[in-house]
Symmetry: C2
């Protein structure tokens, strides 16, 4: 029985850390006091401890206690025993490399599949998909694989960004990049705009937040789905 | 004796393919008729043949003949015999994966070090650096290594983009990404803006084009260098 929230971002413009999604998290983590935080993605290269303190301050607003995975002598045991897990954003290459290096990739997946509640933002949501091939991050380290947890049967592109009108920059748009991805991979990609999240309860996948999401299926033109859309059949 | 041009981009806004740099290429390839084109990066997923035809049309303006590497039965022999090589942009992960898969990585490096003239744009310039860890591209395929040709003793970030004023998007800026890179890697990074290129003659490395470049050295604040700056001591 899966219970997941996979969010595009931790923070929306002009708002505090997790602020936009705290009411949702309050309901999602109802009855849970302690949340295990995976700080491996280290946004901007901050330390595990500094990152954990940011997560602690965010969750304090809904009276949850947060402990960083780096604080445990045995991270596998910590993940196995956790009732609720939060993986924050940062660099997906680093996050995935560290999950493999610390041998917590399979325990994390097993724990979530047994029912531990899982909340991810950005890189932490990316790893909920089949692979990390649709991350936006810079490949600052070389992970042993791009395979991720496969908690949903598609890939996620967090921080999905529409083409900027009047841009004179010649780098690829996000849509062009995902089109390139589909030359070599067949799974769908959900482009999650900032402020959107996927709510997964057992096998039901629902788009939440105020915005539409953009869906990319291999071989067909991309299309928009409205908030509250049921994405359970996307695979 | 190395002769290289590593350009940020093939195309600047409002101008045709290679148009801005054709006068430079005309001088650089003086005395050479045939250019071997490496089409592996496949921008937007186009075929090797379609990509080669774009390169052919571009170089026709300075009366050069272009042949795609995919047209040869023996790509190693083609690279070993080439007097001039051009690698176009697209996806760096795909380019690097294909260089390794087709066993042309070492022959390409050897050919350039023996004196074959090399021109790269975007992904084709990225591979001139020590590693591809500072590419902007989406990791659509998994290459066997992030190590690249090391023709210059630093990394390159092509299409370097300054932070957008007033952006409400919460994804990392380019500068933040390179800062994260320097948490795990020590080599300098040259942020090459569109319209800039590096000219390498033997061990002399010079910034060309009209714009400044942004230099990131590990442990010190980034700084700007002017066009025609000598970057030979950057390592």
């Amino acid at each position: 029985m899966k219970h997941l929230i996979l969010a595009s971002t931790s923070t929306i413009h002009g708002s505090g850390y997790l602020e936009y999604i705290l009411p949702e998290l309050d309901v999602f983590f109802n009855g849970i006091e302690d949340i295990l935080f995976i700080p491996y993605a280290r946004p901007g290269g901050i330390t595990h401890q500094a990152y954990t303190e940011i997560a602690q301050a965010g969750f304090k607003n809904i009276n949850k206690t947060v402990t960083g995975l780096h604080q445990y002598d045995d991270p596998i045991e910590a993940i196995t025993n956790a009732k609720a897990i939060f993986t924050g954003g940062g660099n997906t290459f680093l996050l995935v490399q560290q999950l493999y290096k610390n041998h917590v990739f399979e325990p994390l997946k097993a724990s979530i599949l047994r029912g531990a509640k899982y909340f991810g933002t950005s890189a932490g949501s990316n790893i909920g998909g089949l692979t990390m091939n649709t991350t936006n991050d810079m490949p600052i380290v070389y992970p042993p694989s791009f395979k991720t947890l496969g908690l949903v049967p598609f890939n996620i592109n967090p921080h999905y960004l529409d083409p900027l009108p009047n841009s004179k920059h010649m780098g690829e748009t996000r849509e062009t990049r995902i089109k390139e991805f589909h030359q070599f991979n067949t799974q769908p990609v959900v482009g999650l705009r900032e402020g959107s999240w996927l709510e997964i309860t057992s096998e039901t996948i629902t788009l939440r937040g105020h915005l539409q999401a953009r869906i990319f299926e291999c071989g067909t033109p991309p299309y928009e789905v409205d908030t509250n859309a049921d994405l359970s059949d996307l695979k």
